[in-house]
């Protein structure tokens, strides 16, 4: 999940679709995010590269919409409904996720296990 400066970012992503739940007068998704270009990247427990300022999923409330959709803790969110999440501030990310007139958010997330799975399958293919 690291990036080389100057090169386009490449990652293996999984598409996750979460339906917002109306609870307590708000539409909630059921997870918490951390990170952003205005935050301290060294404090991120989930990132491999401690200079990565992307948006990460820090907590999933069990039984919530995100949990049911298959979002995992430690996922890095790359896109929300087509909006880029790799170079945004924390507040901008929050706003993109909590738009009141949208009932469904489609995320592109990436995690380490996806990369490993692709590498394994590629390596296996190469061996064959």
């Amino acid at each position: 999940m690291s990036f080389i400066p100057g090169q386009p970012v490449t990652a293996v992503v999984e598409r996750v679709e979460i339906k917002k739940l109306f609870q307590g007068g708000n539409l909630i998704l059921g997870f918490s995010i951390g990170g952003g270009i205005d935050q301290d990247p060294g404090q991120n427990p989930y990132s491999e590269d401690k200079s990565d300022k992307g948006i990460y999923v820090t907590r999933i409330s069990p039984g919530g919409p995100a949990d049911e959709a298959g979002l995992k803790m430690g996922d890095k969110i790359m896109q929300v409904n087509g909006w880029d999440m790799t170079m945004v501030t924390h507040d901008q990310a929050r706003k993109k996720l909590t738009k009141k007139n949208e009932s469904v958010v489609r995320l592109l997330v990436t995690r380490r296990s996806l990369e490993d799975a692709v590498k394994q399958s590629k390596g296996g293919y190469a061996q064959q």
Binding site: I28, F31, S32, I33, G34, G35, D38, Q39, D40, Q43
Partner: protein, 534 residues
């Protein structure tokens, strides 16, 4: 024959029935101020315990309060109209005339002493140089260039000394203080002793033995002039430099309306501190306006006026101190009863005060608005004429005074009403207002600038000379007036209408320490990772 046993400067206002005492005394003081118009300078005199006010004190009391001792005091007519003098005023005037004659004598005496000392100081080196030539000219050793060099140095040093003494001492005196100026007296004695000792030495060693070494004599004269210059340096340090560094903070309060200011003074004697305070008073304090105080006095009189004390038991008539003690006890119980009754009574005077003040405020603001509009309109009637126009149309051309007289009537009424509402009408005469208007027109001032001196009371010096001329100030102090200011010194400066209460406090010792900040130590980090639930 008087009823007061001890007298000190502060108890002049204490005790007795306060309301009537104050009224009578104020009318008396107003007479005194009128009689002082001939004095043309400000002088400060010390009030050593005098005997004469006791006369006036008991006479005023006698007519207002039924007092057991009134048969024993002198009865004198106290003036109730503005233009009468009472007997104690006459006594006081004659005493003051005697005092003033004494003061002038003292001043001339000091002046002659100073002139004699100055002449002695300047002529001594010249005498030292000239006397050997006169007395034993033939036996003197001629000395060439060395002596001439020394002559030049003596001449220039004497010139410098002359200029320095003129700069330091020959200034017009601004005030006459009650006691002698201690440092100056000490310096004069020092100089006198110094010069006398030099003469003594000269007489014994040089004149008696008729020394032939002229160069030595010239060097002796040069050393005298050097030493005189150093004494002058000492004089500068003692008289001018020592009090420059502020040491004390004095708080000056006017007794009638409570105006307070704070000043920083250095190490001064009490009389010099009083002089400094008075000089600041004339520049900083707004002018004393007795018309503003009448409201509180009438309220104070009303508080006790509603109650009347009836004495049911006859006072014990006994000889001597028995009657005095009974009378004193009676007065005490009477005043205590009145205080208790006044406290119990439901007093609504605070209500009246509140509404009256609100009404007055509103009235003043309305009058002020009318005045500002009238003045602005009046100022638009005249226009400054330019140079070219002056040559073209010499028609209805006016100089500033005529222009002021032309526009004055349109604002006169509004101004008069405003001054009357704020009780300032006695401070400004029509003549002075017109003069001020002409002055403002000449200097291209705006109407707002013209009005500034009427909208709020200014310092005393701003008003006509009769307001601050002929002022006699009396310094009342428990400590000797030549002693220095200390922490907690209190003294009073009394004049005819009011008094200034001055208290002094030392400025605290300041302990300052340093802390060094490396400019590279200003570093910042981003805040901790924040987590938001969505």
């Amino acid at each position: 024959m008087d009823t007061e046993s001890t007298y000190s400067g502060y108890s002049y206002y204490s005790g007795r029935s306060r309301g009537s005492h104050r009224h009578g005394e104020r009318s008396k003081d107003r007479h005194k101020s009128r009689s002082k118009d001939s004095r043309s300078e400000k002088s400060v005199t010390i009030n050593t315990p005098p005997a004469e006010p006791l006369l006036g004190d008991s006479a005023v009391r006698g007519e207002q309060v039924q007092d057991d001792n009134w048969g024993e005091t002198t009865t004198a007519v106290t003036g109730t109209s503005e233009h009468s003098l009472s007997q104690e005023d006459i006594v006081r005037i004659t005493k003051d005339l005697e005092d003033s004659v004494g003061l002038d004598c003292r001043r001339y005496f000091t002046l002659t002493l100073a002139v004699i000392l100055g002449l002695l100081v300047f002529l001594t080196p010249l005498a030292f140089l000239v006397l050997p030539h006169l007395l034993w000219f033939d036996r003197l050793q001629p000395c060439g260039t060395a002596c001439e060099g020394l002559f030049i140095s003596v001449a220039f040093k004497l010139l410098i000394l002359l200029l320095a003494v003129w700069a330091l001492f020959f200034r017009a005196p601004r005030a006459s203080l009650p006691r002698v100026y201690v440092f100056r007296a000490l310096l004069a004695v020092l100089v006198l002793l110094f010069v006398l000792s030099y003469w003594l030495f000269y007489g014994m060693r040089i004149l008696d033995s008729q020394d032939e070494n002229y160069q030595g004599i010239v060097q002796y004269a040069v050393s005298l002039v050097d030493a005189l210059l150093f004494i002058h340096y000492l004089a500068i340090v003692l008289l001018e430099l020592r009090q420059l560094q502020p040491c004390f903070s004095v708080c000056v309060t006017r007794s009638t309306d409570g105006e307070t200011r704070h000043y920083n003074l250095g190490q001064l004697s009490i009389q010099r501190a009083a002089l400094a305070v008075l000089q600041h008073y004339y520049c900083d304090f707004p002018v004393h306006n007795p018309a503003l105080l009448s409201a509180s006095k009438s309220r104070a009189a009303k508080h006790l006026a509603g109650l009347k004390v009836y004495n049911v038991d006859a006072p014990a008539e006994g000889p001597g101190n028995n009657a005095a003690a009974a009378a004193a006890g009676l007065a005490h119980s009477q005043s205590r009863a009145m205080i208790a009754a006044a406290a119990r009574r439901r007093d609504t005077s605070h209500n009246e005060l509140y509404y009256e003040e609100a009404e007055h405020e509103r009235r003043v603001r309305k009058r002020r608005a009318r005045l500002v509009v009238a003045v602005e309109e009046a100022f638009t009637h005249i226009k400054r004429m330019q140079e070219e126009e002056q040559k073209k149309a010499p028609g209805d051309v006016m100089d500033p005074r005529e222009a002021a007289q032309a526009i004055f009537p349109s604002m006169a009424r509004a101004l008069q009403k405003y001054l009357r509402t704020t009780k300032q009408q006695h401070c400004h005469s029509m003549e002075s207002i017109q003069q001020h208007l002409a002055f403002c027109i000449t200097n291209n001032m705006t109407p707002k600038a013209f009005l500034e001196s009427y909208l709020s009371p200014g310092p005393t010096l701003q008003y006509g000379r009769d307001h601050w001329l002929a002022r006699q100030w009396t310094l009342v102090s428990e400590a000797s007036v030549t002693s220095g200011l200390k922490d907690g010194t209190v003294f009073l400066l009394k004049c005819v209408d009011f008094s200034l209460v001055v208290t002094s406090k030392t400025i605290p010792y300041i302990q300052m320490s340093e802390e060094y900040i490396d400019p590279k130590s200003h570093k910042f980090v981003l805040r901790l990772q924040s987590e938001t639930s969505v």
